[in-house]
Structure formats: C-alpha cells, structure tokens
Symmetry: C2
C-alpha cells in the first residue's frame, strides 16, 4: 500500500509510520512540526520507502501534492489538547475540523478512496451508557476538542456517502506508550521532578479513565482496515478495564521509587469539560479478533520508563 500519514511526527503517527514501514508499505509522512518531533522519525527517515513532507493541513496546495499516488490516508494530525481548548477556541476548529475537510478534499481531487481517522471517545461527552458502545445515544458535546472530532467524523461519513470513499473512524481512549509526550503521566512526572515530596492532583482523584497502549492501538487500526470494508466503519479502541486517576498515580510514583504526599483540587472533574468516567465498549473491534496485549498498568509503567529514558520529551509536555 501507498500510505499517507498526517501527523506523522506525532506520538501515534510516528509509531504508525514505523509499523507501516516495517510491514513493507510505502509511506508518506505529512507534518507541520507544530508539536511533532523530528526525532520520532529518525528510523523512518533512514528507510528508502519513506518520504517526509513538511506541511500544514491548512495549506491545500501542499496537501494536494502530498496526496498524489496514495491508496490510503491515516489522518492522525490534530490539536490533541483537550484541556486547554477554551483558551484558544479557534484552534480545534482549524486544526481538527477544517484540516479534516482539507484532507477529504485533497483525497477527492486525487481519487484517494480510503481514510482512517483518529477520533476520540470524547465525542461521547458525558456518556449515559457505560461501557459506551459505538451506537450510544446521540451524545451532547462537552469540549471543543470532542466537538471538532465529531465534526470530522461527520464530514468523513458524508464524503463516504457522497463521493464513494471508505472511512474508518477510531474512537480512542487516551493512548500511552513510547513517544507519549502529552497527558497526565508526563504532567505528574514533571511535577515530581520539581518536587518529589508532594503531588497535586486535579479533581478528587476518583475520575475513572481507560487507556490503551499505542502498539495495541495500531494493531487495532490495521486489523480493522484489513478485515472490514463497509462504507463507514466505526470502532471504539480501548482496553476492557478502567482505573481511577489515583491508581495511575500510585503506579507512576512506585515506578519512580517515590512516595509523595498527595493533595487534591477536589471535585469530580479535573477541569471544565473533563469527563469523570470514560470506559468504552470494545466488543466491535474484538469481534475482528483483536485483543490488547498490555493492561492499563503495564501501559502506564512502560510510558514512565520511556519518559525516564527520554528526558528531552518533557520539552513537549503540556503546561499545567
């Protein structure tokens, strides 16, 4: 396959690039390097079957050019900053919704017929059914990030109907693993690097969240793309378990050999738009034979280990 990966220099994107190259595919990476890192593409750039294009998804000319002679697009690029969406409302609209529209238009112009899209469990808002299936009741959005991804999903489905493309929509829980640079594990580790004796936690620590290891996430996407072929294929991706934020804190601090005093900001949400309980029903993707190999605890620990051995990744952490 000739594959275009948007957000190729990001956390999930670069892992996907490496996997696709390893599997023998021809890969074009597209990234604007606003948060992506050249270091994540070091091994990919050594491959003759890899081509890197530095470009923005809002630059239609560059994108149209990158889309030539492509069979499948993995559209991983996004503004993934859920928590600070309210500080820059236009960012999600541009980088998620309009960017996805541009990808679809470039596909249409170039007759590219398949797209796989990194959506999010955030599109369920505060789900009324948990574990949440893909057919959950019509959700009410609670974040600009979720709203922008929902808009992307809608565009893909409408293009699938109208322009005979095939769409794979993956609603992720939070992803952990190598090259993770953004989220609670890196935030906690950064705080502990400054003060190993105390750790302040947003919310009451009882927020229940589900996580998935990046390798399992990529396995799931490739399983779906190679085994199903409806016009629109929608899959939740997650593990069959959840943990509380304070469980995760325990795993992180033990892995670091620390025993900090914990303080809490209180309340059942860590911030405006935080979802107190995320747990997705993954029966649909499991029915294709996929299973995650790592538990949440193993994924957290592997993430801690990777961050410890790659301290430069902290430069990418989100600001608290």
């Amino acid at each position: 396959m000739r594959v275009l990966v948007t957000g190729a220099a990001g956390f999930i994107g670069s892992n996907l690039v490496d996997r696709l190259l390893h599997d023998g595919h021809q890969v074009t990476g597209y990234d604007n390097f606003s948060t992506g890192m050249y270091r994540f593409l070091e091994s990919a750039r050594a491959a003759a079957t890899f081509r890197l294009i530095e470009g923005d998804l809002l630059d239609r000319d560059k994108l149209d050019e990158a889309m030539r002679e492509v069979d499948v697009v993995f559209h991983m690029a996004a503004n993934a900053d859920v928590r600070f969406g309210l500080e820059h409302p236009r960012r999600d609209l541009e980088q998620n919704t309009i960017a996805t529209f541009n990808v679809l238009e470039a596909m249409r112009v170039n007759q590219v017929k398949t797209i796989a899209f990194a959506s999010t469990g955030s599109v369920y808002g505060e789900a009324t059914v948990i574990p949440t299936p893909e057919t959950a009741p019509f959700p009410v959005q609670t974040s600009l990030y979720g709203a922008s991804k929902l808009a992307g999903e809608g565009l893909i489905a409408a293009y699938a109907e109208g322009f005979a493309i095939r769409g794979y929509i993956f609603r992720f829980v939070s992803i952990l693993g190598e090259r993770y640079t953004h989220g609670h594990v890196v935030d906690f580790m950064h705080k502990l690097a400054t003060d190993p004796a105390t750790l302040h936690i947003l919310g009451n620590g009882l927020q229940r969240k589900s996580y998935l290891y990046v390798g399992d996430c990529i396995d799931a996407m490739l399983t779906a793309v190679t085994t199903t072929n409806a016009k629109i294929n929608i899959f939740n991706l997650g593990t069959d378990e959840y943990c509380e934020v304070k469980d995760s804190v325990g795993w992180i601090t033990r892995r670091l050999g620390l025993d900090p005093r914990l303080t809490y900001s209180g309340g059942e949400r860590g911030w405006v738009g935080d979802t107190p309980f995320i747990f997705l029903d993954t029966q649909r993707i499991r029915s294709l034979g996929w299973r995650p190999r790592l538990s949440i605890r193993e994924a957290v620990e592997r993430t801690v280990d990777w961050l410890k051995s790659h301290p430069w990744a902290f430069a990418q952490r989100s600001v608290d």
Copy 2:
C-alpha cells in the same frame, strides 16, 4: 428581549422577525442577502424596533458589532441546500459550521448568553429508530448539510459547557408555509408551470417525509426558549405524521387544478444522500404544551397558495 436573528431575510428567519416584533421585542436582523429577500422584511423595516444589518457571518468585525447589547441570538442563517451539497463541498463548512463558530465567538466577546439554533432532522442520517427521538443511537451522517449542522450543534454544546451559555437546538423536519422558496413544492410547481401535463419525480415517490408549518415551527421555538432553561435544550420539531412524496404531489396538483401524468426516476432515494424516511418523535417539545396547528396537507396547500400569489418567489427556487 433584544434579539439578534441571523438569516433574518430568509424563509424562517423573516417569519420569526415578524413574530418577535409583533410580540414587542427589539430585533436586529442580520443577513448577507445571498438567498434572503428584502421583500420578506418589508413590514419589519417599517417597525421602529427593527434594525437591519447587511453582513456576512464570515465577517467577524461586522458580526461582533451586530452582537452588542443583544440578549438572545436566533441563529437561522445557513446554506439550506441539502441536495446539491456535493457540488460545492466547502459551502456547508463555511456557511454552516464556521459561521456558527463565528456567531458563538461574537457572543462570547459580547457576553451574550443565549442561542437558539436551527438544526435539522438530517443530523440523524438514515435513522435506525423511527419515529426518531432526540436520544436516537449515535447517527452516521449521509449529507454534507447534516454533517455541517451536527458540527454546529457540537460547537454550541461545547460553548455551553465551557463558557456558560445556554443553547437551544431545534432539529427541524422540512418547513413549509409563507415565504417558502426552496424545496419540493416549489420545484414541482416550477416544472408544472413549464409543462402542466407531465411531472417527473426523483426517486420512486414512496419516500416518506414529515413537514411542519412555519408558524408552528416558530411557536415551538418560542415555547422552548420561554419555558425551559437547561444548559443545552434539544428538541425535534415536526408534526405527528408523515406522507409519501406522491401524497404531496397529489395535494399540490389538485390545489393547482392539474392532473399531470407522473413519471419516476426510480430508486428509494431521490438523490445521493436523500433520506427515504424522515419522521421525528416530537414528544419532548409536546411535553411543554406545544401542538402544531396545521397538518402536513394543510401546510402543503398553504404553501401552494402562497407561491401562486407570489410568483416572484420562484426566482429563488433551487435549480433542478
């Protein structure tokens, strides 16, 4: 109330303006007159409590200015062309999704706290539950129009959560009545004006659709806005019945005193993205005491009568 109506010179918008003025409110009408008509605002413009601003929703400066000293926004402006969305994919994104984002941003800047939004039953795609309730299973979009309105709904909900605004989202069936210029009634009447002896119908004529009279639609919106006040209030608006396209054809032709030979393009959809069965569950809005006054047949006949007596409205019809 000081009310801003976007799309004030459109079909539903201008009827709403007249009603709000009649009820004693101070109204600012905002329209770019791309499809709106000055004639629809003739009586409004004679009112001292009406102010008209000719502007585009993509013009943020003008919109910000219009939004000053406003209590409630009725955001009716849209590209309402469902059927030809595929011919100009960017139009729905700009005029529906980005325009709605701009309205919300202008509200935020001006501390306007309430928005009522003209959404559509099209957001349900091809619904799996009929009559379709507001909590129907997570829909898959089938048109760029539906996708763009869904994106608008998501933005409103995210702003409600993040910026403490109140949102009313109305999912309309197709609306009929005075100042209707766009849709099957005007299309059929235009064809019959050219050739009264034959009428060609897209699809097999068995598509089942629900319609609502514009006056009933406005009553429903005002009922909701004045009696409920959750953060997000979502209501289907429609009648408690549906008809087949050929029922509607019969009512139209009889009203015109014609008996054309009917031909059909065939297939259960009139065009790509057409929904073969639209019928919304309206229990939620009915629970507030609202009832439609006109049946579908009465609404169709009233529309025919209005179009007959306002032949200039044909200039606005969509091209077949």
